[in-house]
Symmetry: C2
Subunit: 88 residues, 2 copies
Amino acid sequence: MPVARVVVDVMLKPEILDPQGQAVQRALPRLGFEGIADVRQGKRFELEVEGPVDEAALGRIHEMAETFLANTVIEDFTVKVEKAEESK
Amino acid sequence: MPVARVVVDVMLKPEILDPQGQAVQRALPRLGFEGIADVRQGKRFELEVEGPVDEAALGRIHEMAETFLANTVIEDFTVKVEKAEESK
């Protein structure tokens, strides 16, 4: 049965302060890495989906991201189909 | 000056147990979401890079990911250039 990988990326909304990202950004020059104007840190979910990733499946994943994977009060999310492959 | 966004995705290596991903996966059926064979959770870093993202800049970001953003003993990472835009 084909298994497809769908990636849900969850990032803080731009207007929300990102202390983790700022901590990383402040540390970079001390480690010798210049030229990074901003750093934002978020979560990446890789979902292995059984069966075809059709409109219905994507709709379900969208709903899953909205209700469970992201806190949509402070976070935005994107849903991307990465690839479909035969499961081993 | 052009600002480009480079994304560093950090995921646990496949052979490493992912308790967070498993917790999400176990919760999904209870929330009515079927058909998700596996869930892996990782980190996504969005870096705003000053100046052109040429070979040298990508090399630096690769080194930054290897030494600072990822723990390469248990994690893999990928580096992707997302887009270049005129900074506001």
